[in-house]
């Protein structure tokens, strides 16, 4: 498989997400369909979060998108300005919930059951989906008013 790195500064225009999803799937040509679909989904969910809840910051005037593939690792990272401390706390706590869950399906299913009981404007499923459906590990760091979410998965 070819190793490559892709990096882009993205304006928060919704239609861009679809183009990036298509490009990622194209770049992963030769990989299993499950990996291609998962990577496209993860990129979409991370960029959707950045566009919905992010703000521009002096250190992140646009959304930074990174995508790299080596023989062993697939890595996606999205950096954007922090919208509010509440959104950042929600993001970090969901990532912590996914990382600490032995069964990654559980946080997703719990949220789905909540939605069945009480429909909500925010589905709040994206991060859980990345861990469960995508089988990606997640890390999050905040610095100088910007937050970076990194998602990684073994390519094997």
């Amino acid at each position: 498989m070819n190793e490559f790195t892709m990096e882009a500064q993205i304006e928060p225009v919704w239609g861009t997400i679809r183009s990036i999803r298509a490009e990622i799937k194209a770049r992963l040509d030769g990989h299993a369909e499950g990996i291609r679909n998962a990577a496209g989904m993860v990129a979409s969910e991370l960029l959707e979060n950045a566009m919905k809840y992010g703000e521009t910051a002096p250190t992140a005037s646009t959304i930074k998108f990174e995508f790299s593939v080596t023989s062993e690792l697939l890595r996606l990272a999205v950096t954007n300005g922090i919208g509010s401390s509440t959104d950042l706390e929600r993001l970090t706590s969901r990532i912590a919930e996914v990382n600490s869950a032995e069964d990654k399906a559980k946080p997703y299913m719990r949220r789905l059951e909540q939605l069945l009981e009480q429909p909500a404007e925010r589905s709040g499923l994206g991060i859980y989906r990345i861990g469960f459906e995508g089988k990606f590990g997640l890390k999050c760091s905040a610095r100088d008013g910007a937050v970076t979410v990194v998602a990684t998965r073994n390519t094997k």
Partner: protein, 123 residues
């Protein structure tokens, strides 16, 4: 027997309702990746609920190429509404990985919805 078709389309997502007698088929095609899918799906589902009254409904996602996580919530709301109205609904997914994941999740949460069945197309 006559066939009635309704077509709902927005930005790459096509939902087709085909009614024949007491059977209704709702097929999804393309991608559901709008910023707020419920803005489109909410009114479509309201109309669907009226149109499928008295029918057995099949909701077929197998030709759907992608849906974002924001699409899941309105779908759950639709299934709950169908069940509440006593409408028998069968929800079908394809064999593709991501669709099977959604099938398993929908199967688990719809255990409390006796009128809703979840399965794999052709399975």
């Amino acid at each position: 027997m006559t066939t009635q078709t309704s077509r709902y389309e927005q930005d790459g997502l096509l939902i087709l309702l085909t009614k024949m007698g007491k059977k209704a088929l709702v097929t999804w095609q393309g991608a559901s990746d709008a910023r707020d899918p419920s803005a489109f799906l909410g009114p479509v589902f309201e109309r669907l609920l009226v149109e499928v009254k008295g029918c057995d409904v099949t909701i077929d996602f197998s030709a759907l190429e992608y849906m974002n996580s924001s699409t899941v919530s309105p779908i759950v709301t639709l299934l709950k509404a169908l069940n509440a109205q006593g409408i028998h609904a069968q929800v079908l997914f394809s064999n593709v990985d991501w669709q099977q994941t959604h099938r398993r999740c929908m199967l688990a949460i719809t255990r409390v919805l006796p009128h809703v069945k979840v399965g794999t197309k052709g399975g």
